[in-house]
Subunit: 736 residues, 2 copies
Amino acid sequence: LVRRAVTRVLTPGTVLEDQLLVGRRNNYLAALVQAGECWGLAFADISTGEFQVTQLESAEALVQELLRLQPAEVLLSGDAPDPLVLLRPGEASSERPECLPSQFCYTLRPRRYFELDEARRLLMETFGVRSLEGFGCENLPLAVRAAGGLVQHLLETQRGVSIPLEGIRTYTLSQYLILDHQTRRNLELTQTVRDGAQYGSLLWALDRTRTVMGGRALRRWLLQPLLDTRAIGRRQDSVAELYDEGLLRERLQRILESVYDLERLAGRCGSGTANARDLVALGESLLKLPALAEAVAASTSPYLKALQSIPVELERLGEKLRRTLVDTPPLILTEGGLIRAGVHPELEGMRGQLIEDRDWLVDLEARERARTGIQTLKVGFNKAFGYYLSISRGKAEKAPPEYLRKQTLTNEERYITPELKERETRILNAQQQTNQLEYDIFNILRQEAGRHVSALRQVARRVAALDALAGLAEVAVYHDYCRPVLGEGREVHIEAGRHPVIEQAIPAGFFVPNDARMGAEAEPDLIILTGPNMSGKSSFIRQVALIQLLAQVGAFVPARGAVLGVADRIFTRVGAVDDLATGQSTFMVEMTETANILNHATPRSLVLLDEIGRGTATFDGLAIAWAVAEYLASHIRCRTIFATHYHELNELASVVSGVANYQVTVQELADRIVFLHRVTPGGADRSYGIEVGRLAGLPPSVVARARTVLAQVEQHSQIAVGLRDSNGSASESAAG
Amino acid sequence: LVRRAVTRVLTPGTVLEDQLLVGRRNNYLAALVQAGECWGLAFADISTGEFQVTQLESAEALVQELLRLQPAEVLLSGDAPDPLVLLRPGEASSERPECLPSQFCYTLRPRRYFELDEARRLLMETFGVRSLEGFGCENLPLAVRAAGGLVQHLLETQRGVSIPLEGIRTYTLSQYLILDHQTRRNLELTQTVRDGAQYGSLLWALDRTRTVMGGRALRRWLLQPLLDTRAIGRRQDSVAELYDEGLLRERLQRILESVYDLERLAGRCGSGTANARDLVALGESLLKLPALAEAVAASTSPYLKALQSIPVELERLGEKLRRTLVDTPPLILTEGGLIRAGVHPELEGMRGQLIEDRDWLVDLEARERARTGIQTLKVGFNKAFGYYLSISRGKAEKAPPEYLRKQTLTNEERYITPELKERETRILNAQQQTNQLEYDIFNILRQEAGRHVSALRQVARRVAALDALAGLAEVAVYHDYCRPVLGEGREVHIEAGRHPVIEQAIPAGFFVPNDARMGAEAEPDLIILTGPNMSGKSSFIRQVALIQLLAQVGAFVPARGAVLGVADRIFTRVGAVDDLATGQSTFMVEMTETANILNHATPRSLVLLDEIGRGTATFDGLAIAWAVAEYLASHIRCRTIFATHYHELNELASVVSGVANYQVTVQELADRIVFLHRVTPGGADRSYGIEVGRLAGLPPSVVARARTVLAQVEQHSQIAVGLRDSNGSASESAAG
């Protein structure tokens, strides 16, 4: 990696340089401490000052948090001889506990850095407090130890730079909607499963932020939705105001377009690594704040009101920065050109002298020609010996005696005079001094900015939140979203819901909206969803999950109306891929994920299952699917949508209460089928798989033969007799 | 992006800088020309000089080639107003034909650059030839147009740098084993499906190369296996020699460890962008070549013999580089310190004078103290006015008259003398001149190296190939691979074959080898492979595909013995993921891939199918699987392994000739099942899906209920009666 100065060591988690960071993502440094089953986790983004700690009850929960954070570097205590041993992704090491994923960078630090007393002392000293009570982690020893190890690492790598962190925030997983890694992945929150691109993800569909810090905020929110209806309501109120007041929103977004990354600029001022362009960008951004404040002066929603008053010292700082620094300063700080004319009397004086001396040099040629009468005399300059007087060879004998010959060329002689050299020296001297003075002025300015780092960060966070909310409001307006009603109940009532990503990926108006009703009195908890291939079963269940998630983010949702009970967790189980290197078969992955759901879901959870049992033989798969659905409906009683090709599962509704059958409908024409993408009550009994094969280009003889075989098999089949015997209502939706 | 000089524009495909390139991957720039259904494709790696062209009959074939090459940039003709319009990955544009994947960077260039006459003229001029016949593309107008557009782009972006390409190589797809993108992906040739990492891929398991260019060669080979048995044989012979001669291989690999990236170093010399460290690395590497040549002096295999004679001019160049340049030159070329002492008389003279003048300065203090009698006199230096003589304030009146006062400080006076200033100037002057001379010497050296670029590249390619082959031999020795016998027949005879990746990922000796026999007289063409979940069906079919592929790369294979007919194409169809953004359901993807196989496979193809029909309802899926298997076995008659959970497919063997049933066996104990991972004749009739669910952690009540449901369903089931009626032999492998 790069070294900025011998005093600072860059590691993946301690980067501050803009060109090494991704604007719209946080760059987290994490630290871990293990004690039995429990773990302490601390993480920080030193470019934005965020610093959080928590304790976790299991390695599994820890891994889920790491997968959410995607830290650039994870600190572990270890006995490695070298003080900075980096395990690259995928590298094997006995120092890394087996339960930790190998995809991150791990750095081993001495065990003593993670000792409780040392860690507590260091944290209290760093943040200037006499107890950690105020941070809420006084009684969380593992969290404190992890935080101490993290700060110790920063002290060592950031020598000479102040620790760029705000105070510690203690959180617990129970404050947030739990999304495990599989679910974040399956719902394609920030990247698609197919190629890992942001294009096609939920973030892609919703990110209309104008600043990179707004982008980072939105990303964090999508990965960590809320549980507290009041906190959700505060975001909703703000989105609603920005939704209703279109002109206000547009005005704010225009202002935001010229606000730079205040969070990270503040960080670089605090650590003393900001350059002059950073300060100019900071100044420019601060000078936009009064306009923001003015725009939201009459606003009533919490996030907008938070920006109504801008600390006056920040406004003054912005003015001072603009007044002092030139518009486009050079990147190098020690060669002058930073400070505007007219702002510093001493600098003005020095610059004036410099100009005078330069003018003297400029006029010298004319003066000396007149004095000596040599018309070919010239003043020249070269790098090796500075200014000189040049006389052509023929006139050289006319040179006055005070001219000292320096160099003889073919056609000319070059001279200096003590007076010339004195002026020259003075110029060089003065230049150096003005450069130094400019650098000093800059440094004082940077330190002044650094003293405001807390206020800057607070404003930055508010601006970032406003930006994210304005983007959500913009999407809501352009794609006709509604404000969901969130409550403490268990209902999922979605009227004319749409899939936020697919809707944007296909031509406008082509998406077929669908309702969902479950969880309330006299409504099912579990829906068995059948329907042909390609009819949109997977899209429907994902759409329900995304609407629930967006609602808990505080966003508006793609629906005509929605009333939703807050969920404690969203589980998904959809198609998986083999993991040959670790020896997990597809079906094993499927069963492991299913077991995870059955073991952790509560009545408040929302569970979305797509094709459980597909990875094994027909009867096995059907039996497992049946038993799983029955367990969810009668034992856990969580809200579940179970999409399946096993039409036999439709029998469950007649056996277990709280189960309903829905199907995605198609219209059969003479020569083809039309997908209506409409979810209606009732169970499907055909999957039209052979029609899909025909559409996909299977040779006609194969299609014909498959039809024959199907007829033959159906004729002899009695698969569901055992189940159907106890239920007479399932044959009403039958078709040939 | 970065600009190196105003004359050079960097675009993703025209990078030469080492820090922007990935060592073990080629960085391709591609150019496309379309005419109706046909396409011309040219691609080049300007860091290695490779330049190839071809024509393709369909957009589909073109896309497959692009996906193989993964170009950093693709040039297209377009009418964009700006001469350099870059479409970033995922960006929508009407300028990009719809059939082209959006994941690459596209640059639009003016249409006239792709006109035939202009392109032909430019190529002939660039390569100094009078016809393109020698390159084999005289009659391939689309290829020529693409190549012309590519070279025109280089001329514009690399101004002032010579076009860093070797001559054109024309190829056709029919020279190579065809692997479509899905198959490369499914077989995890260079990255895993799960997380896109190299860890766990075939390349990971086989890459024991010591140089980055060897790594690039191996990667190219794995992605493009051969068809010509003689070409395969040449590689095999070389691997065999390196396999048999372990000491020779180790000696070669030790030498290779200190050979740098000759290919790219040659490229930077040719383009004049090499720095002094590059030349030192080049010299070091060239000086290793005689040792390589000596080591292989007695060798008999083609790739080793190719290194027996090293062009004498390269050896001389290496010596000259080492003789001339210091061991660790600075990165900046204009500040001296590049050239060793004693190699250039003029430089020596100048350096001598410089030392003399510096000594004079060093001695000045003593001389002047003695001359003036002022014991406090000192010689000083500052940046503003150079060397000066300093006398303490008290002694200042003693200063001799020739001292010119420059500066008055509190405690001292500072003076210069004309003599002092003259020496000083001479030193600065001389320093500048020696720096310039060193730079000139360096430049001549670089140009000399640049003149050998073709010879350098040829040697580099040979060294890279040797490195790749030595690595393959090393793997073969350590993991006990054998040399496969390749023939023109259709047999796949593998004795005790293993999966090259899984074998290395689990403890040594734990992998269970398996035979495969098909394709020859009295042997099946199509194998129906059944067996429980997690028993290793997927591993087995991938293992057969990888052994066939490795054999056609010219590598040894993980088996006790193998006799293999050359395949024209390997097809795979395994688990897929939904692509919601483009609206493709899993089952549609599955059917599209299956249709592709049925429409393109030939009797010489090898087809591996994993779970066809899983994405739809039971009866549909079974019918499709049956019809597909029947079509492959009776219509196409290619070699196929069909892994399935539809035990009913075992009936096919009794109906269609050339079909055989195999199963992966398990042993049932009282309380659990033991996976034997052994492939034996016969069909399985149980999948043990519920046992897998139990192992994965499904709640016991769910497992018990699933067992009950299974029994109920089985009791009433008659699924396969229609098929079984015509075949009495299927019940012999039954179990409870």
